[in-house]
Amino acid sequence: MNASVLQLLLAGEYLCNVRYPNEYKALESEAAREQVNAWLRHINMRLARIGTSGAWFMTADKVTDRIATKFKSEMRDFRDVYGPAVRMLDFIRQTNPENPHCSPGERIQLVELEQLVYGSTTLSAQLRSLIDVIHNGNSRVTDRENLRRLLEHLRKDGYVQLVDAGTESYVVTGKIEQLYAVLTFLDENKAIEEGEADDQLDLTDGIEGEMRAEP
């Protein structure tokens, strides 16, 4: 049995092929998964996966009252729990709608983000509106520094991984799919009406597209 698989699962990590390729590969074997499951069952846990091909993680054997209560509390405090990641990732999406960099394995380069923000006053203003969300975000530092802090915030939360410190390149990890799973759940439960945010969204993206089209 791969010891690091167990250690990472116990530590609450999401084992995706981006962040933990060796451990992810180890879990490709049915026998290895069975062994891990057998071990986890002793502590009332089991191995689970996001979707059909996503990251592996440890989950409780069954949804207890405590777990359900905690989840409901997270949904009540969505703004604080998931809000920062949603807003920051959506900002990255908007910087380059052609190539949104919001799926596992996609590469984000700080310099590329910086150039896109530098070329658009709208994006720059939007970045500044995220300062209260970004850890250590500061309106008195440069856009580049705030972008770097934004990526570092996402890195600490496990949504991206620094793959090259020299070029400040990050890769989106499989943990992002957990966020999408929550958003899908909220959609299924009609947390917000389809049209409620869409109108504003179309407007925002439209303006943003026009801004970028300008020479």
């Binding site: 949804v63 997270e74 949603v86 999406r93 929550v182 945010a197």
Partner: protein, 411 residues
């Protein structure tokens, strides 16, 4: 035949001579420059390797371009799969004419037509193979000819349609193979049957399987793309909601027991190993000792500060503490009593000797102690010693002290 071979050699020789320019033309249109380059272009145009497009601009001929594309598996974006309909019509026409010639008994023409039909059948096979190779290169290479995600998605949709068309064409090839197989038996041309069966019939199933594999990959990609689009839209909607509903923090939702486990954020299970000091393994023990030696020295425990508390009266009765006097104190006490009863002086040294328990106390200590105790008792102290020979002695030596009640006290 000889002349033909020579022509091919000359063509290849010209291509080889200007290989740099041919390679450049494969990547894109070429233009003239210096005299040497213009000469090379003229020679390549002469053998139809380059085709003029605009004034001074030349493209590689489509035949050569296709050949290099297939051999190097390098295709440009949205490159269409080659249609085999035309070749199929040609092969079908040749086959029908062959049947007519067979019936007419024109054997010489038949042989020529057989050769032409064979070439057509080979071409059809080559085209299908080429199409499949193009599909695999494009699909498995993630459409490396474009960087834009949307363009990749459009190529996915485009090739999904191309695969459908290709599969329909394969059905036409199948019906042609059946037609030739049945007709060749009826007309007595087993070689034709063998040709279409070997070149096309036996390949149909593998071709269809490979095309369907490519179709499956494309379908999955399209599904993933739709999923990704949906996710991005979700992300945008919730980000927009967060921005425009600043007074709301979230929602009251209910969750069922069979909910997707991915919804529940993982919680770490704390596991902290403790050192086992009873571990008999010598290496482990050595490591433990090494670690223990590196530990900082233990701080002296500070006396616990008593918290400020209200004073409480625990007992109102005064306790009587009985003090047991030491032997020298008893001796002094009895001496005081003796002095009160008699007038004659008492030698302290002699007094000490009356108490055996004071034997361990040096006489010098006794004398100093007794003098300091009796000095406040208004007794007369006389230091008994040898007379000093010095005129002005600094210290007067004595070996005993005599104590007597002061003269005024008795009276």
């Amino acid at each position: 035949m000889k002349a033909g071979t020579g022509s091919i050699q000359r063509l290849l020789s010209t291509l080889a001579k200007h290989s740099d320019l041919v390679a450049e033309a494969f990547a894109g249109p070429v233009t003239g420059g210096d005299k040497q380059r213009d000469t090379a272009i003229t020679e390549l145009v002469a053998i139809d390797a380059l085709k003029p497009f605009e004034e001074g601009t030349y493209y590689l001929s489509s035949g050569l371009h296709d050949y290099f594309s297939v051999v190097l598996a390098s295709f440009h974006a949205f490159q269409a799969l080659t249609r085999i309909d035309g070749h199929m019509r040609q092969a079908r026409g040749q086959w029908e004419e062959l049947c007519n010639l067979k019936r007419a008994g024109a054997n010489r023409d038949m042989r020529r037509l057989e050769s032409a039909l064979e070439r057509s059948v080979i071409e059809v096979g080559d085209i299908v193979e080429r199409n499949i190779q193009l599909l695999n290169t494009m699909v498995l290479g993630q459409y490396g000819n474009v960087d834009s995600l949307n363009s990749k998605l459009r190529q996915n949709r485009y090739y999904a349609q191309e695969v459908q068309t290709c599969l329909k064409e394969l059905a036409k090839v199948d019906s042609f193979v059946q037609e030739v197989t049945e007709g060749s038996i009826a007309t007595g041309m087993p070689r034709m049957r063998q040709l279409v069966q070997r070149r096309l019939g036996t390949q149909l199933l593998p071709w269809a399987a490979r095309l369907k594999d490519a179709q499956a990959v494309i379908s999955r990609r399209l599904f993933e793309a739709k999923l990704m689009e949906r996710r991005l839209k979700q992300l945008a909607r919730y980000a927009s909601w967060l921005s425009s509903n600043r007074t709301s923090d979230g929602w009251e939702v209910d969750v069922k027991e069979d909910a997707d486990p991915a919804l529940f954020r993982t919680e770490p299970v704390l596991a902290r190993p403790q050192p086992d000091i009873t571990d008999p393994d010598t290496q482990n023990q050595a490591k433990l000792v090494e670690v223990a030696n590196k530990l900082p020295p233990q701080r002296a425990a500070r006396p616990a500060e008593s918290p400020d508390e209200l004073s409480m009266v625990l007992s109102e009765s005064m306790e009587t503490i009985e003090v047991t006097p030491a032997a020298h104190e008893l001796a002094i006490g009895q001496l005081r009593e003796a002095l009160a009863a008699q007038v004659a002086p008492v030698s302290l040294r002699a007094w000490k000797e009356m108490f055996p328990e004071l034997d361990a106390v040096p006489t010098e200590h006794w004398l100093l102690f007794a003098v300091s105790q009796l000095r406040t008792d208004e007794v007369a102290l006389r230091f008994v010693g040898e007379p000093s020979l010095e005129s002005f002695p600094i210290n007067e030596s004595f070996f005993d002290v005599e104590v007597a009640v002061a003269a005024g006290r008795h009276s």
